[in-house]
């Protein structure tokens, strides 16, 4: 016999299931919210860590000279990026932007998950770093510093700081340095030496100043143009408004800072004797042998010559605004003639902006970008 069962058990069970489901749903929902929020916080921290890594890595491999060669003009920029340790994905992307001769802005964006660039799918962090050039330290003691110096007719050496025509972005002139500092100084009646003092007699012999050997090597290790020994005519080359920095005979344009190559200040290293047939340039010129100037030549910046400097041709104009350091500048019987060397702190400083290291500003360089 089937017994008629009436009761509330099924209803109660269903009701309990509904209540239980509601409790479970609420718990799961809040748990998920909590997990998402905590995950977002964690991703923000990770993204910032990736961005800080990017800031530290963005300048790896760049010297001021190499970066200046890529970013010739103010506000030029290049893209960069990299991966964090243990990650195959690019964990940060960024740009390096030139601000002026000595300042750059590095901006980096990193996301979590690594490689993300879209804010809707990732947590992003953007950081910036203003870095500057810390040039190789160089204290100029004279417009012409050498082991031995012999000056002939038409040689004019001045240690008084001169502004260079057309170059406006220079600090006020500095106090003077000596005209000539050398172990042996031989001048004839036709030469002029001016400075404070005009000459300094050092204990050097007729070798490249020993104190400058380290400087030469340091600058040579950062050269941006390598040339073999030989005879060279030099001058700026450009196509339209683009300076042709791949031409090793393009040493910049001292005639006009606003010209295409006006901002190009290379470090040129020549591994032997060189004959300059003529031309113009600016930057740092390093010569592992003798420098023979045979044609009209104008150079702004610093020239370091491990051997002898000769400028013997008549009727040519040779001018250097900056400083010259050599083993010998002319020798007895073959003096350096028809050359004008004028100390210019501005040109020395400008040329040194291609050397040294890139370092963060000593304060307020770190920036959170929004």
């Amino acid at each position: 016999m089937v017994r008629n069962r009436r009761g509330v058990a099924l209803g109660l069970v269903l009701w309990a299931l509904v209540i239980g489901s509601a409790v479970l749903t609420v718990a799961v929902f809040i748990g998920m919210q909590e997990r998402r929020a905590a995950g977002t916080g964690r991703r923000m921290q990770r993204a910032m860590t990736y961005a800080e890594t990017g800031l530290a890595d963005a300048l790896a491999g760049w010297t001021p000279g190499l970066l200046g060669r890529r970013l010739l003009h103010p506000f030029d920029s290049i893209a960069t990026g990299g991966t964090g340790a243990g990650s195959a994905e690019p964990s940060w992307r960024g740009t390096i932007r030139r601000l002026n001769r000595g300042l750059f802005l590095v901006s980096v964006q990193a996301g979590d998950p690594p490689g993300s660039t879209v804010a809707t799918v990732a947590t992003l962090s953007r950081l910036g770093w203003v870095v500057r050039v810390r040039p190789v330290p160089l204290r100029i003691v004279a417009a012409l510093e050498a082991g031995g110096v012999a000056l002939g007719d038409g040689a004019r050496i001045s240690g008084r700081d001169q502004l260079v025509l057309g170059w406006l972005d220079c600090p006020p002139p500095d106090s003077a340095v000596a005209g000539v500092a050398a172990g042996v100084i031989d001048t004839t009646g036709g030469s002029e030496v001016d400075g404070l003092p005009a000459t300094i007699l050092t204990a050097m012999d007729t070798l490249f100043p020993a104190a400058r050997v380290g400087l030469f090597d340091q600058l040579a290790s950062q050269s941006t143009v390598e040339l073999p020994p030989g005879s060279w005519s030099v001058g700026p080359t450009s196509s339209g408004s683009d300076c042709n920095v791949s031409d090793p005979r393009n040493w910049g344009d001292p005639s006009d800072p606003s010209a295409p190559c006006g901002d190009y200040w290379p470090i040129v290293h020549i591994s032997g004797n060189v004959h300059v047939l003529g031309g113009v340039g600016h930057g740092i010129l390093l010569i592992d042998g003798d420098l023979v100037i045979e044609g009209s030549f104008r150079f702004l910046g610093i020239i370091l010559v491990r051997g002898e400097v000769q400028a013997a041709s008549a009727g040519v104009s040779v001018s250097l605004e900056g400083a010259l350091i050599a083993a010998r500048a002319g020798v007895a019987g073959r003096p350096l003639s028809g050359i004008a060397i004028t100390y210019s702190k501005c040109m020395v400083s400008n040329s040194l902006q291609s050397s040294g290291a890139l370092v963060p500003l000593r304060s307020r360089g770190w920036k959170q970008l929004f």
């Binding site: 916080g41 030139r98 300042l103 910036g128």
Partner: protein, 285 residues
């Protein structure tokens, strides 16, 4: 004749059982509701703490304590020069109307900031390079700014010109500013973060004190819900603002309303977070 129905005792027993069941269900529902409310409240507390963890360190990281960005240091209040914008000069500065006045032109790009310049509230730092051969003399001229007018940069890009009344960087003098084209310009606002009690609801909040008003940025917190500790580079507590290299922030947040704990008592749970922030912009060398 068969009579169908319930006897009075049966009805009473059934009603009693239903009452017990109903009470249990109501209790269960109330418990669910309490649990939901408690979880929501605690979620809000933790969310507040997460905001604190994301927001306050971001404000403090950019400070340069050596250069005076910690304007006033207290145990539960801190007044800072909060960094707001980064822009770049596209021209050398030109002399303004007075000896401390300079006309500056900012390029429209690059620019970064969580809002635009506000001459009424913002001041600026302008990078002063001086001798480019060395970073040793680098510094920042600082001062107030006037209103902006459109200008054009030498490269043809749009810019904005404004007049700044500046104090020269340390070691420099009026007229010898050491400021060149390309110099970064940083906008900042002097403001304070402090613990305060709202006159509206009587609760404690972490408030943002600007020149014009005080507004809550997170809370409610406990009456000791915000604490700063100032540490030097060795990790020791210091009271000298120029020696501060790290700032420890403690935030203790509590639920907006009381919730029932496991024993049914009404409580206001508290949760806390501790953050240690290194000041990234302190002078390096």
């Amino acid at each position: 004749m068969t009579r169908r129905g319930f006897t009075l005792p049966e009805l009473l027993v059934a009603l009693g059982l239903l009452g017990v069941l109903g009470a249990a269900v109501v209790g269960l529902l109330r418990g669910t509701q309490d649990a939901y409310r408690a979880q929501s409240q605690q979620f809000d507390v933790r969310q507040n703490l997460r905001i604190a963890a994301a927001f306050l360190p971001g404000e403090l990281r950019e400070l340069d304590a050596i250069d005076g960005d910690l304007v006033a240091m207290g145990a539960a209040a801190l007044t800072i020069r909060a960094q707001r914008q980064l822009a770049v000069l596209c021209r050398p500065p030109r002399a303004g109307s007075g000896p401390s006045s300079l006309m500056l032109t900012l390029r429209d790009s690059p620019f970064a900031g969580w809002r635009d310049f506000n001459p009424a509230a913002d001041s600026v730092f302008v990078f002063s390079d001086g001798d480019t051969a060395t970073p040793d003399d680098d510094g920042w001229a600082t001062g107030s700014i006037g209103s902006f007018v459109p200008d054009t940069c030498p490269d043809g890009r749009l810019g904005r010109r404004f007049t700044a009344s500046l104090r020269p960087a340390p070691g420099r003098s009026l007229g010898s500013w050491g400021i060149t084209a390309g110099a970064p310009v940083l906008g900042f606002e002097t403001l304070g973060y402090r613990l305060y009690r709202s006159s509206e609801d009587g609760r404690w909040y972490v408030g943002l004190q600007t020149a014009t008003d005080m507004q809550p940025v997170l809370g409610p917190v406990t009456s000791d819900g915000l604490a700063f500790a100032y540490l030097d580079s060795t990790g020791l507590v210091t009271t000298q603002s120029s020696r501060v290299a790290m700032i420890e922030i403690r935030v203790r947040a509590q639920t907006l309303a009381a919730i029932r704990d496991g024993r049914g008592r009404l409580v206001q749970p508290v949760d806390s977070v501790v953050m240690l922030v290194s000041l990234r912009n302190n002078r390096r060398f």
